[in-house]
Amino acid sequence: MKLFAQHGASEGEKITEGFARGLLDGVIYSPRDVSLASLKGKLSEVETAAGTAERLFDPQYYSIFLNGTAEARLGWLLEEDYEPYFQPRRRSQLERESQIEEELAAALTFQSGLNVTGIIAPNILIPNSLNSIESVISKNFIRLAKSQYASLNDTRPVYATLAISRNALMDKQELVDFISEITLLDNPPDGFYVLISARNTEARSDIYNADVIAAWMFINHTLTVNGFKVINGYSDILTPFLGVAGGVAGAFGWWSNLKVFSLDRFAPSSGGGRLPIQRYLSLALLNRITFFEFNQLRTIFPAIVNKLAEDVLYDPLNASEPQRNMEVIQSWEAVKALNAGLVGTDQTKALKKCGDSIKQAGLLYEAIQARGVRPDPKSNDEHLQPLADGLSLFKKLAEL
């Protein structure tokens, strides 16, 4: 299972460091947060620094309906840099197949001029139901991606974007019917770039929900069974679980809006925020805890320490507080280790390992709570039951 950086605002040297430390296998750039000239420079730098790394560009077309909305946070997408494919559109325009062909042609032609290793085709987000007009539009984008791309005589793999709201995953029959259709295309893409959206990036329970986890794993599994390469965006700690289901890569970045996918990131802001507290991703807890919780617990419960190289970033002599820009390095290292520990060629064994790791995390949380420690709401064990239930539901859906 490969791990990619999900690029976003305030990149600094994070991605460069991630490659330098051997933690990343690729990067997915976000045009919202980078000018075209700067993007080209970054792509060249990555190629030089990590020749085998995958370099991808997410056209972020799913935010197109916000183009024209006052105060939408579309950043560089609104500049002329990305104008060739990012023009204001209404849904009704995309109900015509010929318009979708034009949109695909524009976005694919734009990307073919970039120094990327694969092409991510544009698509809209399916917001509410897989049996909807948006779903039909999305299927048309997927169905037509490869044929539009073929006209460019480009040999790089093309990935269709499949962006679905977590709400649309609730109806399992609709999910099965939808997947059944996109796995039987006359001219299929080489793979899929899968995004599951939450209402907002702070809504932890939106993604840590048994139905959502099971559906996301099922999507990875069915697409892989059918020969597609699946790259998951914004997959964060779920990355190894998606890998066990069949996915080849997952990605996440430093801010919470680079760990959870949501159009909220592009919509007008509802108010200011404050910098989050740095956290430590503990393999044993399958969760991040604040650095001061980590500092408090690391000697009492040594099992929460990953015993990996980047643990030095959380120096006990500095109350385990890392430099803010290095937090993601530790996260990438931890997820890379989880990938290595859980994902394997024998799916039955790998699923059992996932189940065992959830049980072990539960026991550790019990021990912590028995000592009277009450972790903060994001650090507690609320993710474990949905993970366990999601795993179980996935096995049922995938007939494993």
Partner: protein, 301 residues
């Protein structure tokens, strides 16, 4: 219900181009003969049409049966690959013998035995190369049939011939219930009847009354896997001999098949896993990339 079999002499009287004729098999409304036509040995297929009392239902059923035969011949006429039986020299011919309506046509005569006969004969179990060749043959047949817009819907051991011919070892027969995804359905009231495929080999999605809206070749992948499994293990992956119709259907819908490796531990994991995966209940879980499957059975990974 079974066919009212006319005498050979009656058949030769209405089809004078037949020089000699000998019955090979009967089943349902159909009889198959070895016949000499124009000096060549061919397989003559005689299908009895239902008698009609003039009622709307009876007329519709008769029309449906006639349509099925016409569709079978039309489908076969469009197939070119060696994996699928070829038409013979006798075109589709309607006839009435002793007040019973029939249609007849001929196919090439295939010298060999169907897989069902081999399974029940208790012959030694096939080797992996033979199973791969069988798998490959059926996958190529499905690919051709699908390219032409059809789903076979009735792949089963009885409809696959093993030939006494080293260059062409397996052939898929019987397009009697092939379904064209482009044409109008033939069934008079599609939601009122069970699909016609032999129920032991029905794909789970075919139990859905509205299956015609979504049917595709993954149904044939399921029945192909059943056929390969049964030929390999010499036992059906789901049904048991004492099962009645309801038990068999219930197993098809709900019970996972025992992994093939449990019966044939000598076979390669790739072969067993591919068969097992194609037996999944949800069509989307069956690997649908035919070219990739063919490559896999040809020895790739």
């Amino acid at each position: 219900m079974s066919i009212i079999v006319p005498t050979n002499a009656d058949i030769q009287r209405v089809l004078p181009q037949i020089q000699s004729i000998a019955m090979l098999d009967t089943g349902g409304f159909k009889a198959v003969y070895r016949a000499t036509i124009g000096g060549h040995t061919e397989a003559l297929k005689l299908i009895q049409l239902p008698t009609s009392d003039g009622s709307t239902d009876a007329e519709a059923f008769k029309r449906e049966m006639t349509g099925r035969v016409r569709r079978e011949v039309e489908a076969l006429s469009r197939c070119n690959g060696p994996e699928i039986v070829k038409l013979g020299t006798l075109a589709l011919t309607p006839m009435t013998i002793n007040a019973v309506d029939y249609v007849a046509y001929s196919e090439e005569f295939l010298d060999g035995s169907d897989l069902w006969k081999l399974i029940i004969s208790g012959a030694s179990k096939p080797t992996e190369p033979e199973l791969r060749l069988l798998f490959l043959t059926l996958l190529k047949a499905i690919r051709e049939v699908w390219t032409l817009g059809y789903v076979h819907r009735d792949i089963k051991p009885k409809n696959v011939m093993k030939l006494n011919n080293g260059a062409r070892q397996f052939v898929l027969l019987d397009f009697g219930i092939a379904y064209s995804v482009q044409d109008t359905g033939l069934t008079a009231n599609p939601t009122a009847r069970m699909p016609m495929a032999t129920y032991r080999y029905l794909a789970p999605e075919m139990m859905n009354p509205t299956f015609r809206e979504t049917i595709d070749y993954r149904t044939d992948l399921y029945t192909t896997a059943m056929t390969v499994y049964e030929y390999a293990a010499q036992r059906h992956p789901l049904a048991q001999d004492r099962d009645d119709l309801m038990h068999t259907i219930s197993r098809a819908l709900h019970q996972p098949a025992t992994p093939l490796a449990a019966h044939r531990s000598d076979l390669s994991p790739i072969l067993c896993q591919t068969v097992d995966q194609m037996l999944k209940k949800k069509p989307a879980l069956r690997p649908a990339n035919l070219n990739s499957l063919i490559q896999r059975m040809e020895g790739g990974s």
